[in-house]
């Protein structure tokens, strides 16, 4: 169970949930398209159950299911065509024609029912193929083409009716399988509905998880793009009409079996009903968007409306008017939604929150430890002009220096004054924090990619990129978004920070502007190869360092300008306690010093106006909306320093680069053999300064001399 660090932000618990953020998360979900039809469905059901007696009676529910099955099949067909970017007006006519064909075959010929089923479905497919061939290969417009075929198919149906209707009506025939198709029950569920569910699930899987489905959506979204990724646009379009026709055939068959009679008016106006159902379900009229499940939801609403109106003894006209209104509203909603959803999402995606920070300590003053000096200004450059963005630096047992590069590689410097360099490993993402595992592998946090390991030979492998998703969040945080720094405990476990579950390292400024508890601390166990969250809702956890005794973990929070101790062992195991709070800068990495203390890098400094902005979330929200990115206010990221903390968390030393020419930003430092090495996320070099011996060391040196 992960520890919740939200209280570190000092905000009330009500701040955990933000309306804006919830809305943004909802808008970002693909399934949010289905929310309106789902609500409408619930509303319709509630309305009819309360207002219409007998609506929930067994008889009505059975009829409703049977009608739904027929409308549902046609709706599925139309959905596929519409996702592929077309439209099929002739679905009603195909439905009517196949319905008549099915009855005629059944009544007038001795065809076995099984064969009949196949024949009717094939006939439907064939009729659909007429549409498909014209649209896909004849390059005709879908709307006008299917309007013409609608007339054509219904003329055929009228002809057949005139010729055979009397004959059909006079024959009486009884076949168990035939009756079962339209009227049979499985348990208490109509067989036709069950068939629809099976087919709908199949269509859903086909649309979302098969190559055909992806291509259908691709063609509907953009024909040009689909062609460029290698989809056969004509074939996909053709196939969508064939499938649609076949599904209409199934619907016609079911109706023939259920009612055992037919007329040329069967299916007239059905295209309108089904189109309403499909659009209601959020299948886009412009193609590319929609699912089988949502189409079924739309079909259910329309069916309930139709049956409910019949029960209420309302006229067919009332039903048509209701449908027309619904279609009008939802066609408009569909257009606006598709156009503006991403824009709306973009506007509200960053939702500034509040954290409360005490006033920053004074930097000036005679006794202040923070007084700016130039002790880092003369750092010798290493890899000047070679490296770009060495966030972290580390040295191995042979004194070779490793650092990351924003171009996705790790450099290794060796030789006298580190004059030789080589690309040690190519990872692909910007390597951030680094640490050596006991077996000599270099374990690296890679921005946007997760935790990686590099063997001494330079072979990279992924350790972990995902953690179990948190259950209480709408936002999917299973991906490790911004692995930032790590350290390895004596037992081999790797503790690392995921500074933000929402933003990447290129968007770090958004993390400042949001000032929310978006980060977490993770633990990777080499035995299982899995990572788990040990601290959640942390505010931009950045540097991580195992204490000298291995009993606890020091965790930097960049946003909160503090360091906390997390106990790994001992009586307070699993709890957090403050280590150094209210620092004047933004702590980045933290590492052990040789004298039992800790080195900590300030990537930047808090400024009074940014601290003020942190207290004004509305200011930041409007700033993000109104100003171009380059103009946004951030903390002072051009001035950095390195500080030293003793084992109790007291600041004992502070090193600055007053000129800011060489190390505008310092994100990490590593002590090795009397030198301090400096890395910076946006620097063009690694710096090195010789450390003055500490008082105890000079005393020891003196003793040695005197001896």
């Amino acid at each position: 169970m992960a520890l919740d660090a939200f209280k570190l932000t000092g905000s009330a618990w009500t701040r955990r949930v933000s309306f804006q953020r919830t809305l943004a998360d909802l808008l970002g979900k693909r399934w949010s398209d289905g929310m309106v039809p789902a609500l409408l469905l619930v509303g319709t059901i509630l309305y009819f159950t309360t207002s219409t007696p007998g609506f929930l009676s067994t008889g009505n529910v059975t009829t409703l299911s049977q009608v739904l099955a027929e409308i549902g099949f046609v709706a599925l067909g139309l959905t596929i065509v519409m996702i592929a970017g077309g439209i099929d007006i002739s679905v009603g006519a195909i439905y009517g024609l196949t319905n008549m064909m099915a009855l005629m075959l059944y009544m007038l010929t001795p065809t076995p029912v099984v064969l009949l089923v196949v024949a009717v479905v094939l006939a439907g497919g064939l009729l659909g193929a007429c549409n498909g061939a014209l649209v896909a290969y004849g390059k005709t417009r879908p709307f006008i083409t299917t309007l013409v075929t609608l007339l054509l198919f219904s003329s055929v149906a009228q002809y057949l009716e005139r010729k055979y209707a009397v004959e059909v009506a006079t024959v009486a025939k009884d076949d168990a399988l035939w009756n079962w198709l339209g009227n049979g029950l499985v348990g208490s569920v109509p067989a036709s509905l069950l068939l629809l569910v099976v087919v709908a699930v199949f269509v859903h899987i086909a649309l979302t998880r098969s190559r055909f489905g992806w291509r259908v959506a691709a063609v509907g979204s953009s024909r040009t793009a689909a062609r460029r990724v290698g989809a056969n646009v004509s074939a996909v379009t053709f196939a969508s009409y064939v499938v649609s026709g076949a599904l209409c055939g199934v619907a016609g068959l079911l109706q023939a079996s259920r009612l055992q009679q037919t007329s040329s008016t069967t299916g007239v106006g059905m295209e309108f009903t089904v189109l309403t159902a499909v659009v209601l379900g959020g299948v886009s009229l412009t193609g590319g968007r929609g699912t089988a499940g949502r189409a079924m939801m739309g079909a259910l609403v329309v069916t309930i409306l139709s049956q409910g109106f019949i029960l209420q003894n309302r006229s067919q006209e009332a039903f048509s008017t209701a449908l027309a209104l619904i279609l009008l509203v939802f066609a408009a909603v569909d257009l606006k939604w598709g156009k503006n959803r991403n824009k709306a999402l973009e506007k509200i995606a960053v939702s500034p929150g509040t954290i409360s920070l005490p006033a920053s300590p004074e930097l000036e003053g005679r006794d202040s430890i923070w007084v700016v000096n130039d002790r880092l200004s003369l750092a010798e450059p290493i890899g000047l002009g070679v490296v770009e963005g060495p966030e972290d630096v580390i040295l191995d047992g042979q004194g070779r220096l490793y650092c990351g590069d924003r171009r996705g590689l790790i450099w290794r410097f060796s030789g006298e004054n580190f004059s030789q360099h080589e690309a040690f490993a190519r990872i692909g993402g910007h390597p951030l924090g680094m640490a050596f595992a006991p077996n000599g592998d270099l374990v690296v946090c890679v921005s946007g990619m997760g935790l990686y390991s590099v063997t001494p030979a330079g072979v990279t492998s992924r350790l972990v990129a995902e953690v179990p998703r948190s259950r209480t969040k709408l936002h999917d945080d299973s991906q490790i978004q911004l692995a930032d720094d790590l350290d390895i405990a004596p037992d081999g476990k790797v503790y690392f920070s995921d500074a933000s579950t929402r933003f990447t390292s290129e968007q770090w400024h958004l993390e400042f502007l949001e000032s929310r508890a978006n980060g977490r601390v993770l633990c990777y166990e080499p035995e299982t190869g899995r990572a788990t969250t040990i601290i959640k809702n942390h505010c931009m956890p950045n540097g991580i360092c195992v204490s000298h005794d291995g009993q606890s973990l020091l965790i930097n929070s960049t946003n909160l300008s503090r360091v906390d101790r997390y106990w790994l062992a001992g009586p307070r195991k699993g709890t957090l306690e403050p280590f150094a709070v209210n620092l004047p800068g933004l702590p980045d990495n933290i590492n052990r010093a040789s004298d039992g203390g800790y080195w900590l890098a300030f990537a930047g400094m808090r400024t009074p106006v940014f601290d003020l902005a942190v207290r004004h979330p509305g200011f930041r929200r409007r700033m993000i909306k109104e100003l171009p990115t380059d103009e946004w206010l951030v903390p002072q990221m051009n001035t950095s320093s390195v500080i030293k903390l003793d084992e109790r968390g007291e600041v004992v030393d502070c090193l600055w680069d007053a000129t800011r020419d060489r190390h505008a930003v310092i994100t990490s430092m590593r002590e090795h053999d009397g030198y301090l090495y400096l890395g910076g996320l946006t620097n063009n070099r690694v710096g090195r300064i010789a450390l003055e011996p500490t008082p105890s060391e000079s005393a020891r040196a003196l003793t040695e001399v005197s001896l």
Partner: protein, 377 residues
């Protein structure tokens, strides 16, 4: 809480009005530098006259005798005379700002918190000409010019802020400055234009009208001296105009204090944030234009100003900027000299031409620089 609700409802009402009638909403953009104002690095290439970091030139003057005079600190210096440090022409009881030459070769100087002073030729001590106009103390004089009839025109930046508190006046949207006409003999004067947003420069146009630069309103005004009518000659400038002086070719030299930025304009719209910032944050750390970029740890920073690979991008949103532009007689921009973000010649308050020589007082960059104006520049 109540004031916050009021502010919120006011803002919502404003947004609604803007939505209903977008044409009524004021302009929110900042004009870009283009045409003759296209950025360059020319100002950084100017030659230093006075290579001493201690000088903070506020205004420059070339006397009829051909001497270069500079106001800096409490003194007016002749930098090219005698020693490498120059010669102090006169010392005043306060900080000297604008200087100009009177009709009889005497020096007129604006002294902060004191008023208008005069130094008669021949090494006399400074004498006070005027310390108030119509009962308003001349505590914040920003500019002085001698009119065609020998009258003196002065600009007072603000009635409430001191000369060094200009950023507070900007953030408070101050409009309490004025331009006054003073008789140099009696010291009496009257206000000819009032409620100006920090008038920073005055000069006389060839046809005898007064041209005033109004810094916080980013515009140039023309005041007709006979009728007293005020008209706008140039509006919506990309920066805060400072002193304006006549050029040799009949146009003007206009210096800019700094450029306008989206962030400052935004903060000017954010009333509650701005009020709290003015109350609780030290002035050098405000979100406001500055004479120079200090790099102090408390200085506000914008994303574009961040150094990458040890380089400051020249197109970064400027906290401070150096800009001098030449305007034609019709107030169209003809040529400009810039020192962009990352440069050092920031915070230019004044530029004057003497023959082929352009002298620029870079107060923020603590330098007095010149360049030869060749043919066609």
């Amino acid at each position: 809480v109540k004031s916050r609700i009021l502010a919120q409802s006011g803002r919502s009402w404003g947004l609604l009005r803007e939505f209903l009638d977008p044409s009524k909403a004021g302009p929110r953009g900042v004009p870009t530098l283009d045409g003759a104002l296209s950025p360059n690095d020319d100002l950084d290439g100017f030659e230093e006259v006075y290579a001493s970091g201690s000088v903070e030139p506020d205004d420059v003057l070339v006397t009829t005798a051909g001497d270069l005079a500079v106001s800096s600190g409490n003194a007016v210096i002749l930098p090219l005379v005698a020693s490498p440090q120059g010669r102090i022409l006169a010392e005043f009881p306060g900080q000297v700002g604008a200087i100009t030459e009177g009709l009889h070769g005497d020096l007129l100087a604006c002294v902060a918190d004191h008023g208008l002073f005069r130094v008669r030729p021949g090494g006399h001590a400074p004498e006070l000409v005027a310390e108030s106009v119509e009962g308003h103390a001349l505590s914040c004089l920003t500019a002085v010019v001698v009119g065609p009839e020998g009258d003196v025109f002065v600009a007072q930046g603000s009635r409430t802020a001191g000369i060094d508190e200009w950023s507070r006046d900007l953030l408070e949207k101050g409009r309490s400055g004025f331009v006054a006409r003073i008789d140099p003999e009696t010291g009496r004067g009257r206000i000819i234009a009032d409620q100006l947003a920090w008038p920073f420069g005055v000069c006389v146009s060839p046809e005898g009208a007064l041209v005033v630069s109004e810094a916080w309103a980013h515009r140039l005004l023309r005041i007709d001296l006979s009728s007293g009518a005020t008209s706008i000659v140039l509006a919506d400038l990309p920066g805060y105009p400072a002193r304006i002086h006549a050029s040799a070719s009949g146009g003007y030299w206009l210096a800019f204090l700094s450029l306008r930025t989206h962030l400052v304009e935004f903060v000017l719209r954010e009333d509650s944030f701005r009020t709290e910032m003015l109350q609780s944050v030290p002035s050098e750390a405000w979100i406001a234009p500055a004479l120079r970029t200090t790099g102090l740890p408390t200085e506000p920073l914008q994303i574009g100003q961040m150094k990458h690979l040890s380089v400051t991008k020249p197109w970064a949103p400027p906290r401070s900027y150096g800009l001098v532009a030449r305007l034609g007689a019709d107030f169209s921009f003809e040529r400009s000299y810039h020192s962009r973000a990352g440069g050092s010649r920031h915070g230019v308050l004044s530029a004057r031409q003497h023959g082929d020589l352009l002298v620029v007082a870079v107060k923020g960059g603590r330098a007095l620089v010149t360049t030869e104006l060749g043919e066609g520049t």
